[in-house]
Symmetry: C2
Subunit: 341 residues, 2 copies
């Protein structure tokens, strides 16, 4: 092993009622953990930061348990197995999973959302934190399972340049659909059309969403990949085709509201014999292998693009997380911890 220490970022203070700051974290050095029967040791190559992490730090309303003070920060990463007492996880295997903000993590068990072997060989392993990780799997699995896209159908994606949205846009196009992206600036709309292959875009901040939808989706909407909720959902509901599918992926508009948005056109779901469905990406574990394989092939063929914003060194983790809340990152924010790929 090139490093006899296990450097870690731990939770020092809860950021209640304020943004995250560097002193919320403490930098510790522990010994490299010993593995027991059936366990294996992963050396971290890259770590991911995500907005949800502040929820772990406070006694949040998240799906996952909050951290205790002193716990190693929770987070996903990609790494290489460097020691193993488990024949299913041989040394040299690359994995993505819940490594935490540290140099080394111990794991065991079957492949799944906790730890997933990276099988694809065509894209950089860091994509395991974005397009070939949970972000991409979220877009792929829900679009296929709930959306059931058919050739020539019209797909609308809200939050179309967001982490999941930008992949959903590209996947819908690659699955043979006409794709309309909704975003919040002319610049984003240009990017969506020029770089991601949207057939049309709508800047919802123009305030003419309903008319714009009528113009760019004259044949109606078959699939709505909704990352936003609220008034954008309301407008799209008026343009649903019969048997339309609404993928409830996110409700980012709601995080800014004290009171929930009151939806006017909910009756269109029944009226159009439509389906509106929520999901949780980890429920799609049986599809992860397919998602990785198919998207890796599209990346290799140059048909699926992604953008990373990379910082170097484990010591940059708090800075990387703070960049998200400051809106400084361009693309998926990751941190390079070790290795040279």
């Amino acid at each position: 092993m090139s490093n006899a220490e296990n450097r870690q970022w731990c939770l020092a203070e809860r950021p209640i009622g304020r943004p995250v700051k560097e002193s919320d974290f403490s930098f510790e050095v522990a010994p490299v953990p010993k593995i027991g029967d059936g366990e294996f040791l992963v050396r971290t190559r890259y770590l991911s930061v995500a907005p949800v992490m502040r929820n772990y730090m406070i006694d949040g309303a998240g799906i996952e348990e909050p951290l205790a003070i002193g716990d190693v920060m929770r987070g996903r990463g990609v790494g290489e197995i460097v020691e193993s007492n488990n024949a299913d996880w041989p040394v040299g295997t690359f994995v993505q999973g819940k490594l935490g903000w540290q140099d080394y993590a111990v794991a065991t068990g079957k492949p799944g959302s906790l730890m997933f072997p990276i099988r694809q060989k065509v894209a950089p392993i860091a994509t395991g934190l974005g397009v070939l990780g949970m972000t991409g799997f979220t877009a792929y699995c829900s679009l296929k399972d709930i959306g059931q896209p058919k050739d020539g159908e019209t797909v609308v994606v809200s939050g179309a340049l967001g982490g999941v949205g930008n992949i959903a846009v590209q996947l819908a196009r690659l699955m043979g659909c006409k794709v309309i992206g909704i975003a919040g600036s002319e610049e984003k709309c240009r990017l969506l059309e020029d770089k991601l292959g949207c057939h049309a875009t709508i800047n919802y901040k123009n305030g003419t969403l309903e008319e714009d939808l009528k113009r760019v989706a004259p044949n109606g909407v078959d699939i709505f990949f909704d990352n936003v909720g609220g008034s954008i959902l309301d407008a799209v509901l008026l343009h649903l085709n019969r048997y339309a599918r609404i993928i409830c992926c996110g409700r980012i508009s709601e995080y800014l509201n004290d009171e929930p948005y009151r939806l006017r056109n909910w009756g269109q779901v029944g009226h159009n014999r439509a389906t509106m469905r929520g999901f949780f990406v980890y429920d799609y574990e049986p599809m992860f292998e397919e998602a990785e394989r198919v998207m890796a092939d599209w990346i290799a063929a140059g048909e699926l693009t992604y953008q990373e914003d990379r910082l170097d060194g484990l010591e940059m983790m708090p800075t990387a997380l703070m960049r998200l809340y400051e809106g400084k990152n361009v693309g998926k924010q990751i941190v390079h911890v070790s290795g040279d790929d």
Copy 2:
């Protein structure tokens, strides 16, 4: 043939901006129609009336085309095939289908929603207009297809004593679920518990729907069979279990509103990984045979009950329809036209 004439009720005037009245219809006598190649002649036994019929009479916003002045009134009935040039439809077969308000109807084609052979032998054929017709098929097919009920799950039915609702309540119970009925009076709630086997009921007019739901569904709601929409839907959304299914069957609360009810808790669909889905009963044609067979068996076993409100004579059709809008009918309103079963 016992009758050489074909008596018919035709549309005389459109009831725009007012209730239906007898003079909106004209009673005509035509010759019994001759059948051509592949056609068959059905003698009407019973006719159904339904609230939707006023929509046919005006230039309505319905799914189906409005009638022209002078057209025979549209409606479903059950009858017997009395002449046939089609080997698939032999004389003596009982059918339910779109007969219209008349003694005789000509039909052709394959079995389906337009004309469907009555295969069951255990229940009176008049049930083909209610529990063993589209009303019952609506409840059965959507509950099975969208609801996917599992043993021990909690099912909430709104409009629980309505035409579809009262069947949905009984079917959910027979499929092994715990059933909670929501209705608008103490008397209806008593009927639901004493006669239809609801495990619990809620009188929504008490104004304590949310607390009542918490009390009677302490383990949450797995399936919501929604005939009402609006504020009742909003309340139930707060009690959904993970992976809950909402069957969007009707939105009767909306017909009284000028402005749509603005739904507050729509985000619970995504949050709970739930499914909310609309449907149209005719899309379930492939399930009709199963629905008839299974429900007829339950009727024969005394486990599924139904209520009819019967008038006698084709001349009573306008009166029968008006009874609906006056709220006078108790159970499914039908009219006996001929025959002695």
